[in-house]
């Protein structure tokens, strides 16, 4: 991954920073600057809670370059509590236990390594939701 591309997307990858539309209140992730619902300009930052549930999932057995050593790994579409769908890997879970509708929460993990001397790319993954301490 290129350094500049890594740097300019850290907000969304580390903190789930998206946007909220000042016109219709739609919450947007990933950030896209124009509301897909009402087409109004939407540049107001909004940080998502990271809570959601599994909308769909798949376990990958044949990986793209750079992900071979993680096989098998499970990817998912997660419906965030605030509305948008997000694509991410699931972690800390046995593949066979994943179900549509399972509550999950965002954590920060290594997404990939670009070789021994390359960058470690960190970003969001989702794990089964842990009950919050009292």
């Amino acid at each position: 991954m290129e350094v500049a591309r890594f740097w300019r997307t850290t907000g969304q990858r580390y903190q789930l920073t998206g946007e909220i539309c000042p016109n219709c209140g739609n919450k947007i992730f990933p950030p896209r600057d124009v509301c897909p619902t009402c087409e109004h300009e939407a540049k107001t930052a909004y940080t998502f809670s990271g809570k959601g549930e599994v909308y769909s999932y798949s376990t990958i057995h044949a990986a793209p370059e750079g992900f071979e050593k993680y096989v098998p790994y499970t990817v998912a579409l997660v419906r965030l509590q605030e509305g948008p769908l997000i694509t991410a890997q699931l972690t800390d879970v046995d593949t066979h236990e994943v179900k549509v509708g399972m509550p999950v929460e965002m954590v920060t993990r290594v997404l990939r390594e670009d070789g021994e001397r390359g960058m470690l790319v960190y970003g969001y993954k989702f794990r089964p939701a842990v009950a919050s301490p009292r």
Partner: protein
């Protein structure tokens, strides 16, 4: 606007062409189409291709192929819309001829994939997805289709085995297509037991990567008869888009781009799904067949798989699909696929499909899909002889 017809078609066998380069494949298809149309000259060449730069280290292939084919000087450009590149090239040629800018236009699709290793091709194909928000997270293109298939099964109550008729029909229809990659019929048992790629998508849900090239020659309908006894009219050619990332779709299980492009095409041709004698569907994965049938109005929401289970997609059914093998069994050289669909559709409409020939094939449609639905090209062709 001028009425446009296909006056020539050409294709090379889909397969692993280790002895042929991208430019050779393109030239063979172009040459075959020009011979079929009995012409020595074209005004322009539109080359549909997705991955020449990434997989063969060669961009600028419009000029490369024109020059290699002995057409130096001609207008030639590459058209790219992921797996929708082939039919997108036809759309560009259609605009040129219909608009009166060119009289003889070659529209080609070409792709060279098998020189490279599997994971390199897997990464290259993932470029049809959203780089920052899908591919960066390790999603392969197969897995994106798997997410759609899982959700479809969940919402509509199907099992994985319910998708078998799509693959079985495609393989059965490829047996007599000399240009198809596979000529082996498959059984339900083979489908059920096939190797898992990205759960629930297994090998026999998936189309194979391949090399290939296909080409058509367009000309004004008014002069088409001077070059062929069997002109095939382009009744409509329409492109529509949707978000590249599945998570950005209003409803991931509805191909909005597919519905919009189909409606545009129906409206331009003044016909509807009930008028179609056949439908070449973009069956990159079995789930895509179901979603495309639904978006184009051949089945209601959630009923695409049921239509296949009832046998209505087979020759003699209500809407035969993948009549020459489809992406699944003819093979899926990504940027060339859309043009193979159109060459096959024209072959059926000319009555030249041999043992694969449908009894009544006068009006047909093809839907070529880029990515998981971000670009959808719908083309309607009709026999006019």
């Amino acid at each position: 606007m001028r009425d446009v017809s296909i006056i020539g078609i050409g294709q090379v066998e889909v397969g692993e062409h280790w002895d042929k380069s991208l430019r050779e494949l393109g030239y063979y298809a172009l040459n075959a189409a020009m011979r079929d149309a009995c012409i020595q000259h074209i005004d322009s060449l539109y080359v549909g291709n997705m991955l020449s730069g990434e997989l063969t280290g060669q961009e600028h292939i419009g000029s490369i192929i024109a020059d290699f084919a002995g057409l130096r000087g001609v207008e030639a450009v590459k058209i790219e819309a992921a797996c929708g590149s082939g039919a997108a090239a036809l759309r560009m040629g259609y605009i040129a001829v219909a608009g009166g800018m060119s009289d003889f236009v070659a529209c080609m699709g070409v792709e060279k994939m098998t020189d490279r290793q599997g994971n390199t091709v897997t990464s290259a194909l993932a470029m049809a997805a959203d780089g920052d928000y899908e591919a960066l997270h390790g999603l392969s293109f197969v897995s994106i289709n798997a997410l759609l298939m899982r959700r479809y099964m969940h919402e509509h109550g199907y099992t994985k085995d319910d998708f078998a008729p799509f693959a079985i029909n495609a393989h059965a229809n490829a047996v007599n297509n000399p240009y198809a990659m596979f000529h082996n019929p498959i059984t339900r048992k083979q489908f059920t037991e096939s190797k898992m790629i990205a759960d629930p998508v297994s090998l026999l849900d998936s189309s194979p990567i391949a090399d290939g090239a296909a080409c058509v020659i367009l000309a004004p309908t008014a002069i088409a008869r001077e070059f062929t006894e069997k002109p095939v009219r382009v009744r409509a050619s329409a492109i529509a888009t949707d978000s590249v990332a599945v998570h950005d779709r209003r409803d991931p299980l509805f191909l909005e781009g597919g519905a919009i492009s189909a409606q545009k095409a129906y409206s331009a041709a003044g016909v509807g799904p009930a008028d179609m004698d056949l439908f070449e569907v973009h069956d990159a994965f079995t789930i895509m067949s179901a979603l495309s049938l639904e978006a184009a109005g051949f089945a209601s929401r959630g009923k695409g798989v049921a239509l296949a289970q009832e046998g209505q997609i087979m020759p003699g059914g209500r809407i035969p699909i993948t009549t020459m093998g489809g992406l699944k069994a003819r093979g899926h050289p990504v940027g060339a696929t859309g043009m193979y669909q159109l060459v096959e559709l024209a072959t059926q409409l000319r009555g030249e499909a041999g043992k694969s020939q449908l009894a009544n094939a006068r009006l047909g449609m093809a839907q070529n899909i880029g990515g998981s639905g971000a670009t959808v090209v719908t083309t309607i062709l009709e026999s006019s002889f």
